[in-house]
């Protein structure tokens, strides 16, 4: 197992950054690249409900 103290200063910094990035991504809410270009406004809540290809079924088979 590689220990932090065995690494050089630069490598140690990179490893810490990676660990930190991993922890943050695990606890942060899902924020998508689609929103990466956020404007100055506030966020509005919207629920999108969607279906497709119902193909005349009034109830599924089976």
């Amino acid at each position: 197992m590689i220990k932090l103290k065995d690494l050089t200063g630069a490598l140690r910094l990179m490893s810490l950054a990676l660990v930190l990035a991993f922890v943050i991504s695990a606890i942060a809410p899902v924020v998508l690249p689609a929103g990466a270009r956020a404007g100055e406004g506030t966020w509005q809540d919207l629920v999108l409900l969607y279906t497709t290809d119902i193909k005349g079924k009034i109830e599924p088979c089976g």
């Binding site: 809410p29 899902v30 924020v31 998508l32 690249p33 689609a34 929103g35 270009r37 956020a38 404007g39 100055e40 406004g41 506030t42 966020w43 509005q44 809540d45 919207l46 629920v47 999108l48 409900l49 969607y50 279906t51 497709t52 290809d53 119902i54 193909k55 005349g56 079924k57 009034i58 109830e59 599924p60 088979c61």
Partner: protein, 380 residues
Amino acid sequence: MDGVWSEERPVLVVDGGDLFGPRNKNEKHQSTFLAEMTGELGYDAIALGERDLNYGLPFLLEMIEKFDLPFTNANVRSGKTGELILPEFLVVERSGIRIGIVSVLDPRQKIISMAASEEVYQVDEPVAVLRELLPRLREKADSVVLLAHLGEQATGELLNEVKGIDMCVIGHTSRNINAERVINDTAVFAAAFEGRYIGRANLFIDDADGRVMAIDVGITALNEEVANDEQMLARVEQFKVDLLEFKTAKRAEYPRTMGSEKETYLGDRACMACHEDAWKVYLDSPHRSAFATIRNKGQSFEPECLSCHTTGYRFKNGYSDESPYNKLANVQCEACHGYGSQHARDNKWVAQAKDSCTLCHDQKNSPEFDYATYWEKIKH
């Protein structure tokens, strides 16, 4: 859906197209009921799928008018006039955000209508259509939703070529997208199919530029674990009773009253054993593809068609769509010659085959019928 409405959050409800069923009268009847129910569910936009023209454009427009269905499409035009057949796009407002909704259909999909009049459509290339349309739409809308009736792969290809779409719901697909997915800055969703699933995405939209900031996707299977809406369920059950009556009434026009319960049709392969030469003529004749002809037109459950495109439909022990009687599809030997069981017993032809022709080749179905000419086609 009731649960979502009760949360009192802004909701946008869309469908990716292919609402209507297969091309036959029973299904048309069912699709009419479905259109009524869909109208009551309060959709904001419905994409045009190729199936939605199965019963012809006049029928679709009638359903739109009657049940207030918000169909939209930007790339299907009348072949006669060159005009779009539906509204090019829709704009709805939620929490002060103007949401533009546009839909495109895959030009590779065949549009086949069972309407009496021949309908021809021109389906424009979606990428070119959207590149021209989106700048105009974005003047009227802060955020844009594409309903892509293209299937998953073609939708991905399109999104990589077109900018300016914030959300995309995929139609013409049989796969759910169960997690957050983004293609070229567009949040992509799919919940398939035949009413088995409904997708829900909780979105946060930047009200400055309409872009999707965050999403949380969930797909719900509409199975027995989801409680039925009692009122809707009662109407569906009543409709099923009505549909059975509708089917029974149609069948009643072609009653199975002829022939004898004691006799059976043996099927064309039984005839082959002793009449191989005649059977070979039958193999190459239009009679052998009679069922395929109506099946390809979505008419394989229509009594008025089945009576002349199968063997013994109006006779006891004749064609039915249930085994073993479904082997009597097509106009087989016994359609003209009568029950094989009787022939096998006494070696006599049950029916005068020559007299059988005009039962189907009548003025309505075969106005140019001439026995001598037609006999040459099946001479055996």
